[in-house]
């Protein structure tokens, strides 16, 4: 079986990120400080604008998203060659990319939220690429529910923040940090927004969706789950550090969550056996250290965070691509089943080695410089300093072991029987090679990237963090020695893995009480509740539906009317004879409609009611309403004629008690509506609204028919909603008639 030829046309999808990359690099070279670009869209009255904030932080993220995007598209076209629906896949990927850049450059918090949820939605589609498999669907849904749910929580925080600051614009919010931190809503704002960030960036206890999302095709994992989407939470926290940061709660919440996540992720990475899961857990660990650094919030911590963020993006995307190559060429990602591939895949092993060195944060790589900076940033953090440094070194040790698992285990040792493989086409090994070697090159010569991207990004988060210097070689000092110790420790862990794995295996039982299990239990409860309430409320009998709808209406309107107090002011003395006569006809026809023993009689009586009401409209000079009413009545008759032969005879389906209940409810409903209408008519002493429409109709809307002007201009949005409902109802009727169980009757 030969490898299917990749479609060249699909490579055109790389043009979008390439253009964006050029744009962001140009912006990086030209923009100093922050520039805000406003588009003339949006609803200013609600404080919603489409405006973009271009500063160091958003430009760094934009550059990373578009640069990795180019490579992922090129890699993906070859990786996925021969699959169906690739056009759709790459459209989803492009949509995701655009949403992610929207998150990075949004100036308005609500716009940021919308882009944020769009990334959740598109990532759901991307994780679910192989949607024929049930596990894939479950993983995609879980990722969507966790991240989009977190987004909802975050929105609540945004709304509070916006109400405290008086604006959703970041520029305004950034100037009000003092007032916001002193406000009584500060704590809820922080907790809600942090929850959103934690779900997106897979912090403990919300981390479980990320390893499950490894069901996605590898290009998706390389893009979403290393470089971009999972960094959105870190981005948001960095963005709001100047506003919400610097308090004890902030440092404790983020520091603690970050540190726990860092350690948990690193530990789980070492015990996993699927290469992608190893990488996913190590990503969780890296995200934890980023959150920890932002929690500290000092200039040194912010600088370290930016350096480590860049380093992690480069090596993690590269390693995911390597994992994809192994999977693609051998058909397995289980490290227990792999080995000795280095001769067969000489190019891949180089990319893997460079990436793994970065993952282990040791040697001439950017992440080593990043880790040195992390340790330095942790030193002055008081009595926790020692514990945090120990945590960082423990993590480094575990991640070094994970790096060995990814880069040594599949490539060295003996080639298992029957495992045949070779290097993939250049389009697949080149992207990880570029990414991994960038990590090395930037580590050796960091000056250009630092001044172009990293220093402005750090300055955008913390005003004192702009003087960023990255240096690989600080001489032989404690940091270097500790790093070497961690590296050796990691290799030792790797060599003795089988032995100590046996010791920790019994611990696997605690996953039964882990957050993933809790989540699943909660979801099951929610689904059971949904099924129960659907059984009760939507049992398939039209009369029960009507009962609930009418009862709800009576309850809501009745309570509101009773609370507000209705005033009646009307008299019959100016009623004319023919009006009284018409009303009498309507009343009589209503009685007939209710009491008639034949369906045709009821319908005819209802027709009398309808036409009489239309006449009333004419009497009170509302020709538009009358015209529509006449047409509706006519069409009702037509529709009735079409169905009358099919309907069963009038039969009594209810017991007397139920009938009494129905009569009582209907009387109540009619009474409430009549009372509300009468009260509304009594209130019309000052017809402000109709006077406004009458006087502005021609001038503002070029129309003399006020009813029509209201429908198509003043309240056009309502009309749009109404005709959409009409259309949906028509399609619903069609569905009810056409869709029925095989061979069954409707």
């Amino acid at each position: 079986m030969g490898t299917p030829r990749p479609s060249r046309a699909l490579r055109a999808f790389a043009a979008l990120p390439l253009a964006l990359l050029v744009l962001f690099l140009w912006l990086a070279a030209t923009v100093r400080g922050a520039r805000v670009v406003r588009l003339p869209f949006g609803a200013e009255a609600l404080g919603l604008t489409l405006s973009f904030r271009l500063d160091g932080l958003s430009i760094l993220f934009g550059t990373l998203i578009s640069a990795v995007g180019v490579l992922v598209v090129l890699y993906g076209v070859t990786y996925l060659a021969g699959r169906r629906d690739l056009g759709r896949f790459f459209v989803c990927l492009s949509l995701f990319m655009a949403s992610m850049i929207g998150v990075a450059v949004a100036e308005n918090l609500i716009a940021l939220f919308i882009f944020w949820e769009l990334t959740s939605l598109t990532s759901w589609l991307l994780i679910g690429t192989d949607h024929e498999r049930a596990t894939v669907r479950a993983a995609a849904l879980q990722a969507l529910l966790v991240t989009a749910g977190g987004g909802m929580v975050m929105l609540a925080g945004f709304v509070m923040l916006g109400s405290v600051a008086g604006s959703f614009e970041l520029t305004k919010i950034l100037t009000m940090s003092g007032a916001i931190r002193a406000h009584s809503l500060y704590l809820p704002i922080l907790l809600l927004i942090a929850t959103g960030a934690f779900t997106k960036s897979a912090q403990v206890p919300f981390h479980f969706w990320l390893p499950a999302a490894m069901e996605a095709p590898t290009p998706v994992s390389a893009y979403l789950h290393s470089a971009t989407m999972v960094k959105a939470g870190v981005f948001l926290l960095a963005r709001l550090l100047p506003v919400l940061g610097g308090t004890e709660v902030w440092t404790t919440l983020l520091g603690l969550t970050g540190a726990i996540t860092m350690l948990t992720g690193a530990f789980l990475a070492v015990v996993a056996t699927d290469i992608k899961k190893i990488l996913a857990y190590s990503t969780i660990s890296a995200l934890g250290s980023l959150v920890l650094l932002i929690g500290l919030g000092s200039p040194a911590a912010v600088q370290a965070a930016m350096v480590f963020l860049l380093a992690h993006t480069l090596y993690k995307a590269a390693l995911f691509m390597v994992a994809g190559i192994i999977d693609h060429e051998t058909g397995t990602r289980d490290i227990e089943a792999l080995g000795g591939l280095r001769r067969a895949m000489p190019r891949t092993v180089v990319a893997a080695a460079a990436g793994a060195l970065s993952l282990a944060s040791f040697g001439p790589v950017l992440s080593f410089a990043g880790k040195e900076m992390i340790v330095l940033a942790l030193s002055p953090s008081g009595r926790w300093s020692l514990a945090l440094q120990a945590a960082v070194y423990t993590t480094a040790t575990l991640l070094a072991a994970a790096a060995a698992l990814v880069a040594i285990r599949p490539f060295f040792g003996t080639l298992p029987e029957g495992l045949r493989a070779h290097d993939p086409p250049a389009a697949m090994w080149l992207p990880p090679m570029i990414l991994a070697s960038s990590g090395v090159l930037i580590g050796i010569a960091p000056r250009g990237v630092t001044s172009l991207l990293l220093a402005p990004a750090a300055a955008a988060i913390h005003p004192d963090a702009g003087a960023l210097l990255v240096a690989l070689w600080h001489g032989v000092n404690a940091g270097l020695l500790m790093g070497a110790a961690a590296f050796t420790g990691g290799l030792l862990l790797f060599r003795t893995r089988t032995a100590w794995l046996r010791a920790v295996r019994p611990l696997a039982g605690i996953t039964r009480f882990g957050p993933a299990a809790l989540w699943q239990a909660g979801l099951d409860r929610a689904l059971a509740f949904a099924a129960w309430q659907a059984r009760v409320l939507q049992n398939g009998y039209l009369r029960i539906y009507l009962l609930f709808v009418i009862a709800t209406m009576v309850l809501l309107v009745g309570v509101a009317a009773a609370a507000g107090g209705l005033r009646f002011r009307f008299s019959f003395h100016d009623a004319l004879l023919h009006e009284i006569f018409l009303s009498a006809i309507i009343l009589a026809a209503s009685v007939v409609a209710v009491s008639s023993r034949s369906r045709l009689g009821s319908v005819a009586a209802l027709g009398v009611v309808g036409y009489s009401v239309a006449l009333l409209y004419i009497l009170f000079s509302a020709p538009d309403l009358a015209m529509t009413q006449f047409l509706i009545e006519t069409l009702t008759v037509i529709l009735f004629v079409l169905v009358i032969y099919r309907l069963p005879r009038y039969t009594v389906l209810t017991r007397p008690l139920e009938r009494t209940r129905d009569i009582a409810l209907c009387t109540l409903a009619g009474g409430v509506i009549a009372a509300v209408v009468l009260a509304a008519a009594s209130e019309r002493a000052e017809p402000v609204l109709s006077r406004f429409y009458a006087s502005h109709s021609v001038e503002l809307a070029h129309g003399r028919n006020i009813v029509n002007v209201i429908l198509v201009d003043f309240r056009a949005l309502d009309t749009m909603g109404e005709i959409t409902v009409v259309a949906v109802a028509a399609i619903g009727v069609l569905a009810l008639l056409r869709l029925r169980p095989e061979g069954g009757r409707p």
Partner: protein, 142 residues
């Protein structure tokens, strides 16, 4: 249920009804009428055809799928709201331009006309869809 009298009358009435529905649509901005009433009128013309002949013939005579009518109508309504966005106004704000006709008079054009046409199409399409669905159901029965 086809009768000669109905068919003969329908031959004259249907074109008149359709014309009248369009007339109702366009006069609506200044006098009683509008897209909603116009759409309902157009649907009655269709119903008349269904009664005179049958649903299949009526569909053939209409020459257009009611789904397409609904979709076009909704898109028109949506589209009529977009130009205002590009002028920095709220979505669905009516925009007007005048086409000079003669010396002192002009033919006013505005996005609400597009909007009302969209309402017309969507309403007509929805009712036609329901009528065809019910009529076909009944014809299968016969």
């Amino acid at each position: 249920m086809s009768s000669l009298i109905l068919r003969t009358a329908a031959r004259f009435l249907i074109p008149l009804l359709v014309l009248f529905s369009i007339y109702t649509l366009f006069r609506g901005h200044n006098q009683p009428g509008g897209g909603f009433a116009g759409g309902l009128l157009a649907a009655t013309a269709f119903a008349l055809y269904v009664f005179g002949w049958d649903a299949r013939a009526a569909k053939r005579a209409a020459g257009i799928d009611p789904h397409v009518l609904i979709g076009t109508g909704l898109l028109l309504v949506l589209g009529s709201g977009l130009p205002a966005l590009f002028k920095g106004r709220a979505f669905l704000t009516g925009l007007w331009a005048s086409l000079p006709v003669g010396e002192h008079t002009g033919l006013a054009f505005g996005t609400p006309i597009l909007f009302d046409t969209g309402v017309y199409l969507a309403v007509a399409g929805s009712v036609v869809l329901i009528i065809t669905a019910l009529a076909e159901e009944q014809e299968e029965e016969d």
